[in-house]
């Protein structure tokens, strides 16, 4: 039996009285593009933050490629490339310096650093802009720069939290095309969250629908649609599983603020 890329068992996390993740079971297979979908406040980011060691998880609750996240933090971090929900590149550095920083932080050997940095910048079509300050980048370019930062350490699991939120349709396609190309070139596992149904339908091999801290539906986009009925779209699946959650009764100020922040450029 092969080890799954990610396995979560009975995962739970509460912020005070708010239960963000409530008994979540999840298995991401090696090499697939897996989409975690859900409305604002569903608990997607919280789940991602637990998988990436940013929030504490109890022993045995999460494994990443067979390593226990609670006990082998450093090893797990080495395996992960992470792009958070906000646009998080450093605007006071150039694109190349941003990527070089992460090459150093992941202990990429000195002799490989330059070639590896050049390779990921090139793969993200940023070679020309590489020596410009990241302040001058468009939202789509910043996202690609962040992908380059996440990829420079040759991770086995790429974790992307809403990689296309706040981007225009062309930039969105640009990001998804790069993700597909990375996967084709390296075979790495991609775990991505989004609330854009259509994007998930087009680009994810398997999807988990999350609502109020739990997985409500799981399968390939085709399977999920077939369950609802002929000619159903993923939007229908979404509505079926979350009620009228699309009106975001669950998403408070905090979520709206986070989304706004994401939409802005880097400072």
């Amino acid at each position: 039996m092969t080890v799954p890329a990610v396995r979560c068992t009975g995962l739970r996390h509460a912020f005070g009285d708010t239960v963000a993740v409530d008994g979540l079971d999840l298995e991401v297979r090696r090499g697939e593009v897996f989409g975690l979908l859900g409305p604002n406040g569903a608990g997607k980011t919280t789940t991602i933050r637990m998988i990436t060691t940013l929030l504490p998880a109890p022993p045995e609750a999460i494994t990443v490629l067979g390593r226990d996240v609670a006990r082998q933090r450093t090893a797990v971090r080495r395996l992960i490339g992470y792009v958070p929900q906000q646009l998080s590149a450093d605007g006071t550095l150039t694109g190349r310096e941003n990527v070089m920083l992460f090459a150093r932080l992941f202990d990429v050997p000195r002799r490989d650093r330059r070639t590896q940095v050049d390779a990921v910048l090139d793969a993200m079509d940023l070679t020309e802009a590489a020596d410009r300050s990241a302040k001058t980048y468009s939202g789509g370019m910043v996202r690609r720069l962040e992908l380059a930062q996440a990829l420079v350490s040759a991770p086995q699991l790429l974790v992307l939290d809403e990689p296309t939120v706040g981007l225009d349709p062309v930039a969105r396609d640009g990001v998804w095309d790069r993700i597909a190309a990375i996967r084709a070139a390296t075979g790495m596992t991609v775990l991505v969250t989004t609330h854009a149904m259509q994007e998930a339908d087009e680009h994810c091999e398997r999807i988990a629908l999350m609502h109020r801290g739990r997985i409500r539906a799981l399968g390939t986009p085709a399977e999920l649609k077939a369950e609802i009925g002929p000619a159903a779209t993923l939007d229908d699946v979404f509505r079926h599983n979350t009620g009228d959650a699309l009106t975001t009764e669950n998403g408070g100020m905090r979520d709206v603020r986070a989304a706004r922040r994401t939409a802005g450029r880097v400072g």
Partner: protein, 276 residues
């Protein structure tokens, strides 16, 4: 598309790093963050100038006036010479406190999360930030010292002493940067931190020997002065730069212990900060 780096099949060591590994990683991360700080400085040199305005005012206005009226007895040392190291420490203090405040912005922008998902122990991350603040403080100090020279302050040219100045500034900045990260980890919000940052920097400055000799202070202030790491930083800077009598060994001892202590406290609070 060019060839992307592909992960080696067997990942490296799966066990958590031991103490030796921790020290090596910490040193390496400090180097990395200091380098990044230099890169940032290179991109934005104007900041060095704008941030020199305040110390310049202190030296030119306050310093010149008080030198002329001989209001503060500083023995055989001209008041301006006495004051210059104090102002140097003050500008380093402001930079370090601000650097700590910046971590809240980094948290809100997701930068901190990204740094925390690298194989970098918390303590190494905090130490790296702390000494990067020091790099900025030293760069600022160069500007302030040139200004002091122009104003006629006689400063040492001894390279060893100047190296000592750099070390004192780095240690002092590390302490104050981590003090402000610690407060950030306690209050968690940028607005509250800004208020507290402002509320503590001036008292730290006035309750130190930066502006006046210890002997002139009332008893209660002398007590505060004795537990204020800024005073030890100023004492070391003054002794090294203008050759006043100083307890250099004690000064460096206090600065090393204070910095190490504050780095430890700040790294314990870092997870709380990133979660909040």
């Amino acid at each position: 598309m060019s060839v992307l780096p592909v992960a080696p099949p067997a990942a490296s060591a799966d066990t958590e790093p031991g103490p030796l590994r921790l020290v090596r990683t910490t040193l390496s991360r400090i180097g990395t963050m200091c380098l990044v700080e230099l890169q940032k400085l290179r991109h934005d040199r104007t900041e060095l100038v704008t941030r020199a305005v305040q110390p310049a005012l202190w030296l030119i206005v306050f310093g010149q006036v008080f030198t002329r009226i001989h209001a503060i007895p500083t023995g055989s040392t001209p008041y301006l010479d006495f004051l210059a190291p104090g102002i140097l420490a003050q500008s380093a203090l402001f930079i370090a406190i601000f650097y700590g405040i910046q971590i809240i912005w980094e948290r809100d922008a997701g930068v901190l999360s990204k740094l925390m998902v690298t194989p970098t122990p918390r303590v190494a991350l905090v130490a790296a930030k702390a000494f990067a603040a020091g790099v900025r403080a030293v760069a600022q100090a160069v500007v302030v010292l040139i200004l002091a020279l122009v104003l006629g302050v006689s400063l040492t040219g001894n390279p060893l002493k100047l190296l000592g100045v750099v070390v004192a500034l780095m240690l002092g900045s590390a302490f104050f940067c981590c003090l402000s990260i610690t407060i950030a980890g306690l209050v968690l919000s940028r607005d509250r931190l800004m208020g507290i940052g402002q509320a503590i920097t001036m008292p730290l400055f006035f309750a130190s020997n930066a502006l006046y000799p210890v002997e002139l202070m009332p008893g209660w202030l002398q007590v505060i002065n004795h537990v204020n790491p800024l005073s030890y930083e100023v004492d070391a800077l003054r002794g090294l730069l203008v050759g006043t009598e100083a307890t250099i060994t004690l000064d460096f001892g206090v600065l090393v212990v204070a910095a190490a202590f504050m780095i430890t406290v700040a790294s314990a609070l870092l997870p709380r900060l990133s979660r909040g």
